[in-house]
């Protein structure tokens, strides 16, 4: 079958007419939009065509200071003293307004970040609203969360979020912090600031007291200023293990609390008794969801030797049917790579993989001329010591190995400094329990992959991080137990 001629879809673009993007976005401090002290701006572009979307104010150290001061004042005077049920009602309002403006948020998320509209519409935005809704309800029920203890808020939380799920990560961070009575200074990622600024509009509309949520955009220096600020009591960071380690060093000795959601290199394990067609779909979801820009992506595939040939052949066929292109097209499966820097990194690893002797397969899709794109790729003929097996690529690149026995695959799966997630595919229940216990990772998907829910704790073992977000566990990082 010729996938280019026999498997064609007509374009089905989502309209972007209704979306309002301003030319310039300022900092959101103490309930107001204000320019940075240096009047500095950086541009954010659409990675699918490299067109400029907006100018965004770059927060300087002084700006971060202003934001922290506003947060501290709001914490001391208003938010920590407010009746918890009132606090909860504000958070419910945020959830509702996100739901109301879901379509606008979804389009902007895809424009700014490059992810397919299908994902921003069906995953990112609804889950973001659900997170606010979930934690809103906790605000006045905290006495039931930790038996035998009472909770106290921590103070001002400095939150630094990544570019792969911009609004959703903002929701993961903000919702539990606010519900437990903390105030926040949030720093979105440099390449995806827009939905956070839209969220700031919603926060204004909700009449959240000024200073309870402050949003400062910028790069690493802005983040560092936030981490180092003496009046920040807690750091919540999602991003690379390298930066996570730097944060741990920076806050050492300061008494600041912190949670870290860091990198991963998840094993996705397919046994011979698995439902193979479902497993192939799971492999696709595991590695190609959000262009592979997922810390918990199933980037290491282990297939039992007896079915390896079948699975790989099915997988290659399925990869050929993936539609790569316009993120705003409702048929698109794989959108644009988030940034030039990330595309370069992915290409570097693909190059390394080939130089180290791996055999590459890429789907034969046509990639758009403008913008940042990468074809879905897989490596076979690689082993534990290959860098594409060991290191996090954060792109649509899968490394495949085979195995014979259960013990062998457990040893291989755990042979990594990471421990964020893992996948197991088999029809045998006892094998699922054995594997899900043996894999040293915080989230195990059995006969599924890459599922998220606000009530479900998420976070890693080993070098994948410290602490959990989501669920009841997600309250813990934002409270002192007394």
């Amino acid at each position: 079958m010729n996938y280019k001629t026999d498997w064609v879809y007509n374009p089905a673009p989502e309209s972007a007419d209704h979306v309002r993007i301003q030319e310039r976005y300022d900092l959101f401090i103490n309930g107001k939009f204000i320019p940075s002290v240096k009047n500095a701006y950086f541009k954010t572009i659409n990675p699918a065509n490299e067109n400029k979307l907006a100018q965004v104010a770059e927060a300087q150290k002084t700006d971060v200071g202003l934001a922290v001061r506003a947060a501290k004042k709001a914490y001391e005077n208003i938010w920590s003293k407010m009746d918890p049920s009132e606090r909860g009602k504000y958070i419910f309002r945020i959830a509702r307004l996100i739901q109301e403006r879901a379509r606008e948020f979804a389009v902007i998320e895809s424009l700014d970040g490059g992810k397919p509209i299908r994902e921003s519409r069906d995953v990112d935005i609804p889950l973001a609203a659900a997170h606010f809704f979930y934690y809103a309800g906790w605000a006045d029920k905290l006495e039931y969360a930790f038996p035998g203890r009472k909770t106290q808020p921590v103070g001002v939380a400095g939150q630094i979020i990544p570019w792969n799920f911009p609004l959703l990560m903002a929701a993961w961070k903000l919702a539990p912090a606010l519900a437990t009575g903390n105030t926040v200074v949030l720093k979105p990622a440099e390449t995806t600031p827009l939905t956070a600024m839209k969220l700031a509009e919603i926060i204004q509309e909700c009449e959240l007291p000024p200073g309870v949520v402050n949003i400062v955009n910028g790069g690493g220096e802005t983040g560092q200023a936030l981490v180092e600020h003496p009046d920040v009591d807690k750091i919540a960071f999602t991003g690379s293990t390298e930066v996570g380690k730097f944060i741990m060093k920076t806050v050492a000795g300061t008494g600041k609390k912190y949670t870290l959601e860091l990198g991963g290199k998840a094993a996705n394990i397919i046994f011979e008794d698995a439902p193979l067609d479902q497993a192939v779909e799971g492999i696709i979801t595991g590695i190609f969801f959000n262009q592979g820009h997922v810390c918990c992506a199933g980037s290491r595939l282990f297939v039992q030797e007896s079915v390896a040939e079948t699975v790989i052949s099915k997988l290659k066929n399925r990869m050929e049917t993936l539609i790569v292109g316009d993120p705003l097209d409702k048929n698109t499966d794989i959108g644009a790579i988030n940034s030039k820097a990330q595309l370069d990194k992915i290409k570097m690893y693909v190059d390394i993989g080939q130089k180290e002797g791996g055999e590459i397969f890429q789907s034969s899709c046509n990639l758009p001329k403008k913008g940042y794109w990468h074809a879905p790729s897989l490596f076979t003929g690689v082993s534990q010591s290959h860098r594409v097996v060991q290191e996090e690529i954060f792109g649509p690149v899968l490394a495949i190995q085979s195995f014979r026995t259960v013990d062998e695959v457990i040893a291989k799966a755990n042979n990594t400094p990471f421990g964020l997630s893992g996948g197991v595919w088999t029809d045998k229940g006892s094998k699922i329990f054995a594997l899900s216990k043996a894999i040293r990772a915080g989230v195990i998907w059995a006969n599924t992959f890459n599922k998220f829910d606000p009530s479900s704790p998420f976070g890693g073992y080993k070098e994948s991080g410290l602490g959990r977000e989501g669920g009841l566990e997600g309250l813990m990082p934002y409270v002192h137990l007394v």
Partner: protein
């Protein structure tokens, strides 16, 4: 007849279920405040610590796979054996400077704390695990697992109760441990190792070193195969070193800053949680 010559005890390390001398061949002379007794205490080295980590790692999966019931019984057994050794601990605690009354109280509390944690073995997972009502057709549950190998710096000011309070929540949760004993009061910790050794605790689950905190703290907190480091003390520079070294492999630093270990608040399931990980599992519901 002259006075009987005492048979004095050689205080050694406890690694992998054995009592070796330190590989360093170095000793610290320890004398009690009244200067009646002089003891040579092993000056544990980096190499001793590394050996202990290997033993603890080897023991980790076996210990974490023991049933909760069995771990509870073994902790209870430690309490039983300690009860039978009261006299020896009385002698050592008073030698270390406690009054008789203080020593008695400390032994009582140490035994009670072991019994207390023994009872938690098959309950903390129940209290702190849950089924999560996800908005999709999936069965989703979260439960606790041991973090792995834990390096612990015991409190300096209280030796027996300090050791028990630090070790019990670590091992009841299925972790294995390497503990650095109190530097100023080392005798009880090594005798406590003898108690552990005779309580059905598998080799390598608990390892106890003596030595200098200033020398070993760096190694305890920087080792790449240690998953958590528990620090008891009040020195800001030491705390910063432990937290900073933890960044090397994102190990979990647990800081007990100047705590009063005889306070009842210093026991409880939240101390077990300090060295636990939450694992969440998803499975589709359907046919």
């Amino acid at each position: 007849m002259g006075k009987r010559i005492n048979v004095q005890k050689t205080y050694k390390l406890y690694i992998d279920g054995k009592f070796p001398r330190t590989e360093s061949g170095r000793y610290i002379k320890w004398q009690d405040p009244k200067e009646t007794t002089l003891v040579n205490v092993c000056r544990g080295s980096r190499k001793d610590f590394r050996n202990a980590v290997v033993a603890a790692r080897k023991a980790a999966s076996g210990w974490s796979c023991r049933t909760a019931y069995n771990r509870g019984q073994i902790l209870y057994r430690i309490g039983e054996i300690l009860e039978g050794r009261r006299e020896q601990f009385m002698t050592e605690l008073t030698l270390q400077g406690s009054t008789k009354k203080q020593a008695e109280k400390e032994i009582d509390q140490a035994i009670e704390r072991l019994i207390y944690y023994a009872g938690w073995a098959d309950k903390y997972v129940q209290v702190f695990s849950r089924v999560n009502p996800v908005a999709m057709p999936y069965f989703n549950f979260s439960f606790l697992e041991s973090v792995g190998v834990v390096a612990a710096i015991a409190p300096d000011d209280i030796s027996l109760l300090g050791s028990v309070s630090v070790l019990a929540p670590i091992i009841v949760g299925g972790n294995t441990a390497i503990m650095l004993a109190s530097e100023s009061r080392p005798l009880c910790a090594i005798t406590f190792a003898e108690v552990i050794h005779t309580s059905d605790v598998p080799a390598g689950v608990v390892n106890i070193l003596t030595g200098q905190r200033s020398e070993l703290l760096d190694h305890f907190s920087s080792h790449m195969d240690v998953n958590a480091v528990v620090y008891c003390g009040n020195d800001p520079e030491e705390i910063e070193l432990v937290q900073s070294n933890s960044a090397l492999n994102v190990k979990r630093p647990v800081i007990y800053r100047g705590q009063n270990w005889s306070d009842k608040k210093m026991q409880g399931p939240y101390h077990i949680l300090e060295t636990q990980e939450t694992k969440t599992t998803w499975h589709p519901v359907g046919v």
